[in-house]
């Protein structure tokens, strides 16, 4: 932790008084932020938990009743929600592993010194900067079954013999959504890993070379262990992001029943159908599912460190 500079304290005996004053000022400075966090995050979170135990409907004429665990019981037997969980987890596993593998490869390439390295780093920020819905839109057009460039390229390269309906065909629909996310996010993952690579001291590699270690040995013995913290943080952030995916799926499929993610089904339940109580129970469930992943990562980290 970096040193925190305190205001100058010329005389020791005034310290407690000064400290008390400091604490007061600090909390005053924090007040607006804490108020906003309480209002925009903590209060709605508490309210969501409360709503999940009621039968609240949006703009209902009858008053809202407390229904205990009824929403959760219904949720357990909800096949659509189960399908949505499964779809989301498949998406998460596919995109996070591709983005990590490709991102690491790209980071290693861009980490070496070459002409145009600055340009490459700038180019890598471009897909990250554009809105996800716009990226999805671009790919939807590129994947068009008749006029899309992907079909044209694939046919020119003789990978396929006739145009394929990538998005409509259930066997490739998930893959085409994943392709958008991988394209948009891999460069970002690469940049995070690149930042991790840059803090590894160069003399470690020089020493290894003197000792006759080859490139692969250098990677496994130096790069990988020292990059592990950066890798872990990147994986956590990506996983949490992927689990709440909404935009890409929505642009590609709307809320078509077989291609819903957890977030889409929940959004539609609350805003589309107005089932606020049931949607709140779903929100809590999603929150818990994401929390399970956080716990898995954190314990994995602990076990490795021990």
């Amino acid at each position: 932790m970096a040193s925190v500079a305190a205001p100058a304290q010329p005389r020791r005996r005034r310290r407690t008084k000064l400290q008390r004053r400091q604490t007061r000022i600090a909390w005053l400075l924090l007040l607006p932020s804490l108020a906003v966090v309480a209002l925009v995050a903590l209060y709605p979170l508490g309210k969501t938990v409360y709503q999940s135990f009621t039968d609240q409907e949006f703009l209902a004429l009858t008053p809202t009743k407390w229904v205990g665990l009824a929403n959760y019981r219904q949720l357990i037997h909800d096949a659509v929600f189960r399908g949505a969980i499964w779809e989301t987890i498949k998406f998460t596993l596919i995109t996070v592993s591709f983005e990590f593998a490709l991102g690491l490869a790209i980071a290693l390439v861009v980490h070496s010194k070459f002409k145009g390295r600055g340009v490459m780093r700038a180019v890598m920020l471009v897909p990250w900067a554009i809105p996800t819905v716009v990226a999805a839109q671009m790919w939807k057009w590129m994947l068009d079954d008749t006029y899309g460039v992907i079909n044209d390229l694939a046919m020119r390269l003789h990978l396929i013999s006739h145009p394929h309906a990538w998005i409509a065909d259930p066997s490739t629909s998930l893959a085409s959504v994943c392709a958008v996310d991988i394209w948009k996010t891999t460069p970002f993952v690469a940049l995070l890993l690149l930042a991790g690579l840059q803090v590894i001291p160069q003399d470690l590699y020089e020493a290894a070379r003197v000792d006759g270690a080859n490139m692969l040995q250098q990677f496994w013995r130096i790069t990988f262990p020292l990059l592990k913290p950066a890798i872990l943080v990147t994986l956590i952030f990506r996983t949490l992001d992927a689990l709440r995916v909404f935009d890409v799926f929505y642009v590609f499929f709307g809320n078509a029943p077989n291609t819903q993610t957890m977030a889409i089904y929940d959004q539609f339940t609350i805003v589309g159908s107005g089932h606020v109580g049931y949607g709140a129970a779903m929100s809590v469930a999603i929150f818990l599912i994401i929390a399970v992943f956080v716990v898995i990562y954190v314990t994995l980290n602990r076990v490795r460190e021990a």
């Binding site: 305190a6 607006p32 966090v37 700038a122 809105p131 839109q137 930042a195 909404f246 999603i286 929150f287």
Partner: protein, 295 residues
């Protein structure tokens, strides 16, 4: 394993040998380059291709004849220009609010010692990974109750949930890297904490403010879930809502979708973002890594 190393070293000394060693590497670099940028090329190409030609096979890789009709179509509809204005209002207000509130919190968290400091830091960190969908219903009913439904105010209010914690976190890490001497000198000269904040610290973290501001702006500009849920009338649409409103109709065909105008709109809304990102490239990377890797 010393031999192959020395052999490549010898190869590198000769210009032609260097070419042999480096070619596969540059092929790889070129592949990454094309992968990252080809979709943009395709958007540009489609935006300059006449609408009728877009729906012809075999497809052409170069717009000939090139046309500006798609841009005219996109910019002449008040639908799209309204959305641009709405997005600027929303993303701009959210950014300014987050910076103003976040900077004062970062001052407290980065430059003061007090009880509860690490608790607040943990609270802020846990907020940065907060799933927005988890509070959608509660926000929806609250926003309706306060008559904010279908207003830009609803978005400005709710977007703070993801911009503010991130802003506090990154600005705090910027605050901490500053040396204490200047500030101490100011205190010795009798400056109040508020003066120190305005006159000493704020100018020093100006680069940090630019970076976090840009990141907050981009995330607010790109937000979709809340905009979709809290906005109803097309005149209040933000850019992501406007640009997707033509195409979302399930998995049907893309027939009758004005792809040319959409692609032109895409160019118009992404070029400023790309320009800002390229200009501030280094700072963004340092800001992102302060937010993610060091956290």
């Amino acid at each position: 394993m010393a031999r192959p190393v020395s052999r490549t070293r010898r190869l590198r000394k000769h210009p032609l040998g260097r070419l042999v060693v480096r070619t596969p590497f540059y092929v790889l670099v070129a592949a990454i380059f094309v992968y990252a940028l080809f979709p943009f090329y395709w958007v540009l190409r489609s935006s300059f291709t006449p609408e009728a030609k877009l729906f012809q096979t075999p497809i052409k890789y170069w717009p000939s004849p090139a046309t500006l009709d798609n841009y005219r179509a996109a910019l002449s509809s008040s639908f799209f220009t309204d959305a641009l204005l709405n997005s600027v209002i929303v993303a701009g207000s959210v950014t300014l609010l987050s910076l103003a509130i976040g900077a004062s919190a970062a001052f407290a968290l980065g430059r003061f010692k007090f009880h509860g400091r690490s608790f607040v830091l943990y609270l802020v960190l846990s907020m940065t990974i907060f799933p927005q969908i988890a509070i959608l219903g509660a926000l929806y009913t609250t926003i309706t109750k306060f008559n904010l439904y279908d207003t830009l105010g609803a978005l400005i209010f709710s977007y703070l949930i993801f911009t503010l914690p991130f802003t506090i976190w990154v600005l705090t890490s910027f605050m901490r890297t500053l040396p204490g001497d200047l500030e101490e000198a100011a205190y010795v000269d009798g400056a109040t904490p508020l003066q120190v904040f305005w006159k000493v610290l704020l100018p020093l973290i100006a680069p940090g403010l630019v970076t976090t501001g840009l990141l907050a702006f981009i995330s607010a500009w790109n937000e979709y879930l809340y905009a979709l849920s809290f906005i109803q009338s097309p005149s209040h649409y933000t850019v992501p809502l406007a640009i997707t409103s033509f195409t979302i109709s399930g998995t049907g065909s893309n027939f009758a979708v004005p792809w040319g105008a959409i692609m032109a709109a895409t160019v118009i809304i992404t070029l400023p973002l790309i320009a800002m990102v390229l200009l501030l490239q280094r700072r963004i990377i340092s800001g992102l890594t302060a937010g993610a890797v060091k956290g």
